[in-house]
Subunit: 462 residues, 2 copies
C-alpha cells in the first residue's frame, strides 16, 4: 500500500484515539486502504498477528464506536471515497464506505435526487460510519434511519472472506444479512461497498419556525401535527436555553425571548406542500404558538437549518465541555420527559439544553460541564444515566440514533434479557469468532463469548 | 391443550398438506395452540421426539413455506388471534401471529388508522405468515414490505427458549434480530407476538384507472410517474389478457378491448391528493393513455380494487390450473421484460397473463396450464425458470414478495455465492442448530449444515 498509507509513530496515532469519546489505548497502526482487496490484506495480516481491527470513518460518532479499546490496527476508510455507480432511473447508487454523506447528495443534486439520511454531521461523516451506527438525522421522521436506505453491502470478515448481502430491492430473498450488518458497529465485518437508495427531491419544500412562550405548547403541537395525519419531513424542537446559545452563535433568527421553537419541514408537489404548511401553521397556532414564520427563500431555509445543525457547536461556545445524550421515548410523553430532565438538572446542579427530533420522540439532552472538574464529570454521568433509565421506563430505548458503542454497552441489559444478549453474542461469533473486530463495543462486557476468549488469550495462543 | 386442539387422523391431516404448493409427506400431528406457553410446550415435546416443527398461518403462502417436507408437527396459529395491545397515540399494536391481516386494520379503522402491508390475500392471511414471508402487497411502493412495519417480535426457539427482539422504534440498539427474523420463513423460531407500526389513514385517496391501447404506453407511464417525483401509494398494471379474465369474473369496469390498464392510487391531504391525481392523469395522457378514469366514490374505488385483488381467482375460472410467479426487476426494464415473457409463452406454448406491482418492478406472470398434463406442467416450470433467470440477468431478483420456501430454494445460488449461503446456514444454526424448524425451506439443499446433520441422524442419535 505504500508508506503514505500507514501511520505508526505515537504522535501520529494520537489523532486516532478519539471520536466523541476517547480511547484508553493507542492502536499499533493506522492504515488507509483504497480498495476491498487492500482491506482483505490488512485483515489477514491482523489475524496472523492476533491484533484487533477497528474500522473508522470520519470519527464523528458519538458513542465511541470508532475508538480503540485494546490496541490493534485502525482501518480508516477516508481514501475509499469513490462513488462507484449511480443509477438514477432506478434510484440507487453504489459507493465505497469513505464517501462523505453530503457528497453523495451533491453528486446527484443537479439531476434532482438526494440521499435521505442526513445526520447533523453530514458534511463530514461517511456513509460507512452511518451504516456502522445506523445513523439517523432530522429527516428520520418521514424517511427512516440509515438501514431504511441501504439495499446491499459488501463486507470483509475477519477471515478475509468477502460476503455480499442484499441487492437492490425492498424484499431480499433469504435471511436479511444487510439489515443485520447495518448498525452492528464494525463488530461483524468491515463494510467495503454500500448500495443505497436515492430519493427524488420534492418539487417544493416549506420550512416553518413556530415560536412558543411555553414549552408545553411546542410538545403539544408535535402530538397534534401527527394526530392530524400529517407526516412532516422534519419536526425538530429546541428549548429556550439551547436556541439562545444557537442564536448567539449563528444568527439564524430564532427569537431570544422564547421558551421553545419547533423547526418543521413539509414537502411534496407545490400545492400539496402549501396545503400541508397551512395545516401545520394552523395546528401550531391552536396550540399556542405566538408566531409561525415561514422561510421565504432557500437562503432563509438554509439559515434556519444552519442554526439547528450547528447547535452542538453553539453550546460548545458557552460551556467548556458538554455531553450529548441520545434516548428515545413515545412522542406523546415529551412534556413529562422535559419536566423530568429539568428535575435531573436541578438535582445534579447541571445546565441541560434540549434538542429533540421531536417527531420521533428522539431526545438529545445536552449536559453542560467542565471536564477538568472530576465532580462535575461524575454528576454528568449520573444525570445521563437517570435520563436513559427514564426513557426505558417510559417504554423507550437507550439510543435513538447514535449507537451503543462503548458508551452504552453496559446499559444493554436495561432493554434486553440475558437470553437476548446471549443470542446476539452467538450470532456475532458466526461472523467474528475470535472477537477481534472492534472488541469491547455494543455488547456488555462478560457477555461476548468471542471477546472474552481473546482477552484471556491475548498474551498467548488463541 | 385439550383434544380439540390436536389433529392426528390422516383424513384430518390432509387439509394441512397444502399451501399454494403441496407437501410430499403428511405431518404426524397438527396442533392449535392459543398461547406462547403452549408453543413452548409443543416445541419441547417435538424436540424430545426428534420431530420437525412447521409453523403455519392461514396457508395462503405462495412458495411452499408452510408445507411439510419431512413429517413432524404443524403448529397452526389460527387460534392465536388476539390483538394484545393498541396504542394509537404512538401508532403501534401488539398482536398474536394468528391475527388476520385485514382484521387489524378493521380494529383501528374507526379511529382513522390502518396496518399498511396489504397482500391480496389480506382477508385470509395472518400477520404471522406475513412476517414469515416478509409479504408485500400493492401498497409496497409507498409503504414498503412487512419488515418495514414490524418493530419487535417474540419468538420461541427450538430449545424452548423465548426471545424478545426489537422494540417500538426505528433504530434498535444492538444487532437487528427483528429484521433478521422477518422473512426467515419459520426456520429461526416460531413467532408468537408481533409489535407493528400503524399508519394514519390519509385524509383523501384518489384511485385512477388509466387505459391503454398498447402495453408500452402503460410501462412508459410507470417510469414517467416516478420520474416526475410522484410516489403513488399503489401503481399496479394488468395486461389485456388478465384484465379481460378479471372483468368477466368481477365486472369491475375494466375495458375489455384495451391492451393494458394501470390502477394508480395517490393520497394525502385533500388538495395534495387532488394535485397528485391531476399530475398522474397528465403523465398518463402524455404517454398515450386513451382514457383516465377516476373512482368517484368509495364504492367505485372498492370495485376497482376488487378486480385487482381477485385477479388470481379470475384466472382460475378460465384455466384448470395456473402458476403465479414472483420476480423483481428494475422498473425501467418493464417493457423489455414484457416482450421477453411473451416470447417465453410462445416458445413453451403457454398463455401467460401479467399482473405487476409496476411501481416496484415486481412481476407476477400467471402461467396457465392443466396440472393433469405432465408435459404442460414441465413446460410451465421451464418457462417460470426462464423468466426468473431473466430477472436476475436484468439486475433483479428471484422473489419480490412471496418468499423462497421450497419453491425457490434451489434458485438461491443464482443470486448468492457459496460463501454468502454458507454464512446464512451458519447463522441459521445459531437459532436452529438441528435444523428441525421448518426443514427444507429457504436454503438450497446440501448447504444447510443443520438440516444435513438431522437428515443423517434421523434414525439414530442427534
Amino acid at each position: 500500500m505504500g508508506p503514505d498509507a500507514v501511520l505508526w509513530r505515537p504522535e501520529d496515532l494520537m489523532l486516532y484515539e478519539y471520536d466523541a469519546l476517547s480511547s484508553v489505548t493507542q492502536p499499533q497502526a493506522v492504515v488507509f486502504p483504497t480498495s476491498t482487496d487492500q482491506v482483505v490484506g490488512i485483515v489477514k495480516i491482523a489475524s496472523q498477528a492476533k491484533l484487533p481491527v477497528v474500522a473508522r470513518g470520519a470519527g464523528t460518532g458519538l458513542s465511541g464506536g470508532a475508538v480503540v479499546t485494546e490496541g490493534g490496527i485502525v482501518i480508516v476508510t477516508s481514501r475509499m471515497k469513490k462513488i462507484l455507480e449511480i443509477d438514477l432511473e432506478n434510484r440507487r447508487a453504489r459507493v465505497q464506505p469513505g464517501v462523505v454523506n453530503l457528497d453523495l447528495s451533491l453528486a446527484v443534486s443537479d439531476e434532482g435526487y438526494y440521499f435521505a439520511p442526513d445526520p447533523s454531521s453530514q458534511k463530514a461523516c461517511t456513509i460507512g460510519g452511518n451504516v456502522a451506527e445506523n445513523a439517523g438525522g432530522p429527516h428520520t421522521l418521514a424517511y427512516g434511519v440509515t438501514t431504511n436506505h441501504v439495499l446491499g453491502l459488501e463486507a470483509v470478515l475477519p477471515s478475509g472472506e468477502v460476503i455480499h448481502t442484499g441487492g437492490t430491492y425492498w424484499d431480499r430473498p433469504g435471511y436479511d444479512l444487510t439489515g443485520f450488518i447495518v448498525g452492528s458497529e464494525g463488530t461483524l465485518g468491515i463494510v467495503t461497498e454500500i448500495t443505497v437508495r436515492l430519493c427524488r427531491k420534492p418539487e417544493a419544500v416549506k420550512t416553518l419556525l413556530a415560536v412558543y412562550d411555553a414549552v408545553v405548547g411546542a410538545t403539544r403541537s408535535v402530538a397534534a401535527i401527527t394526530a392530524r395525519g400529517i407526516t412532516p419531513a422534519a419536526l425538530e424542537m429546541m428549548d429556550g436555553f439551547t436556541l439562545r446559545a444557537v442564536e448567539e452563535a449563528t444568527h439564524a433568527g430564532y427569537p431570544m425571548d422564547s421558551a421553545a421553537v419547533l423547526l418543521i419541514e413539509v414537502e411534496g408537489l407545490r400545492e400539496a406542500a402549501e396545503e400541508n404548511a397551512e395545516a401545520v401553521e394552523e395546528v401550531c397556532r391552536e396550540n399556542c404558538a405566538r408566531e409561525v414564520r415561514r422561510a421565504k427563500s432557500a437562503e432563509e431555509r438554509d439559515l434556519l437549518w444552519r442554526g439547528r445543525k450547528n447547535a452542538f457547536g453553539a453550546l460548545g461556545r458557552i460551556s467548556p465541555s458538554y455531553y450529548v445524550q441520545d434516548g428515545v421515548i413515545p412522542r406523546t410523553r415529551l412534556p413529562e420527559m422535559l419536566e423530568f430532565i429539568e428535575q435531573v438538572g436541578k438535582l445534579h446542579q447541571l445546565r441541560i439544553g434540549n434538542i429533540f427530533h421531536a417527531g420521533d420522540g428522539n431526545l438529545h439532552p445536552l449536559l453542560m460541564f467542565d471536564a477538568r472538574d472530576k465532580d462535575q464529570s461524575q454528576r454528568v454521568l449520573k444525570a445521563a444515566e437517570a435520563i436513559l433509565t427514564k426513557c426505558v421506563e417510559m417504554g423507550g430505548s437507550i439510543t435513538g440514533e447514535h449507537g451503543v458503542g462503548i458508551e452504552k454497552r453496559d446499559l444493554m441489559p436495561l432493554i434486553f434479557s440475558d437470553d437476548d444478549l446471549e443470542m446476539m453474542g452467538r450470532l456475532k461469533a458466526v461472523f467474528n469468532p475470535r472477537g477481534d473486530l472492534n472488541p469491547g463495543k455494543l455488547l456488555p462486557a462478560g457477555r461476548m463469548c468471542g471477546e472474552l476468549r481473546v482477552q484471556v488469550s491475548q498474551g498467548g495462543e488463541v
